[in-house]
Amino acid sequence: MRLFLGRSKGISISNTRTIKLQLLLKQPWRNPKGLDLLRKHAHALGITPTAEGLTTMSGEITKDAFETLFKTPVHEVDAQPPGDKDFGRSGGAVSGDLPVPEALAEYVESIAVASPYLRL
């Protein structure tokens, strides 16, 4: 998957830097009650909710907490300036597929790092 125009290698992230996460609710919990419960359980795991929609919640977690929770590395990618095919890429982080933590398994269908995107 090409989530961005890569002109830089991934670099490690300082332990206090936050990683943006995207959580998709399971079907029965796509409602205000589900979001309330998810917010509470996510917070207990070190995920700070930042925004929520109709079926999803966004959140942030420090790199330390991320690696403790998911036991997988995460790489920072730099923002990129405009190129021939696009008007630049946002900065952020990438990682492989993440397991849904047990404490969230009842409510969450999938969880992922929010990847950098292109300006088209």
Partner: protein, 510 residues
Amino acid sequence: MKLVQAVHKTERAKRTVKPSEELTVAITFRRPQDGVGPTKLAARMSSASVSAMRPDPLDMDKALYELHRRGFEVSERGKLTASVRCSRQLYEKVFGTKLKVFRIDQTQQMSSQAFYYPPAEAAWKPDESLMSLIDDAYIQWPHIFMATAKKPKTKAAQPSAIPPEVSYFHLQVPNDVPRLLNATQVHAAGITGKGVRVAMIDSGFGHSHPYFKAHNYNSTVVLASGASNNKTDANGHGTGESANVFALAPGATFIGIKLDNDTNPQGSASILEGLQEALKHKPQVISVSLGYDLCEADPVTGQRTSNKHLTALPNGLKALEAELQAAVASGIVIVFSAGNGHVSFPGMMPEVISAGGAFIDSKGNMRASDYASAFASQIYSGRKVPDFCGLVGLQPHADYIMLPIPIGCEIDGDNSTHDETTPTDGWGVFSGTSAAAPQLAGVCALLLEKNPGLTPSDVKAVLKRTSKDVVKGAANSASNGGAAGLKAGPGEDGATGAGLVDAFAAFQQV
């Protein structure tokens, strides 16, 4: 009364005994109802009556463009007047007069001690076509300093509301884009998207640019989680592309959702966070000129390792997919760019309007843009991208639409290497399917003003059946798995979908 006590010749006076060859000229304009301007009005104006003298902003545009074309530099623009600069020779030529040097009492603390001005007996034979657009053009006298300045204050550089000239064919906002998408007739019918809430998710929105102010566009900018400063746009993408929304739907209620963090790019909001923020504002239309390129690639660097399309949506994008599906199901029309050679997601989702590109040249010939993506999705069976098109330029850079951007932003600098603008003029000539999405979003707003009951599928269906067929050209090969770009042809085709959107034809059917 002497405003400043100065008994000797001031230092400034010593420096300004020669008049400046550059003149500052105040331009006044005619009001639309009867063509009378403030200098020709018999009655004295008051704060209560001055609003009746306000010219049509589009007429001001036209006049300033004509002045600019003749060599005048527009330095400032207000609601009733504009300031322009020019050489003495140019003023004499355009207004058919001969200027004379006037000198001022040198004991006064004036901005200049001598200046050019037409004497009472001077001829006055102005360029008639210009005078039909303006009320008058007065050379500004030097002003008196009310106090000695301790330190000159520097004003942040402001771009001009009038775009620079470039030597090649391109489109201008706000007029060319709606004209070619056949929206001018819709505007003439009084439909401008008024009251329709259009959210645009992008880098940022520098709407303090004089272009946006000059057109009195209605805009609110809010920050998605992690974004900073709702007044700035360090990249310029959102600012420039948003001019496409306003060109099509000047009356819409525009809600800009800024994603970028100017000082910490890693902390910028995700597209999902932008969407979640947008949903809070109850939009009827959402325009997004951002996306992901779903080809096989290095997982860390993001470099394409082949042109092979992914056949399943990566888990990391499933939350965004679900949120978009739910948003469309709730009745919001969502428009995404199809990509510029990218295998673009979410532009390939069946629920959204996928905005592709068609190019119209200086003679009105139309063809598929070879810059815009067109492909069959390997993830959503049967889904072909795009649905239909907006106006997009050609390779190599798609330099096609002159758009306002913050001075010195990334695009201002980067584009100046190929679009003939300068790195700090606050204008750029660009497009991409990033331009097509907000154009189509603007057209959607027009349809929703006329018929607020339209569902997202109604809107997509009517635009599809009324689009103008594009029969020539081919789309960007980079989006087609390494094969040649999909070709346009009679009827619906791979390159442009149903063709170029026809706002008036769609308007007549809703």
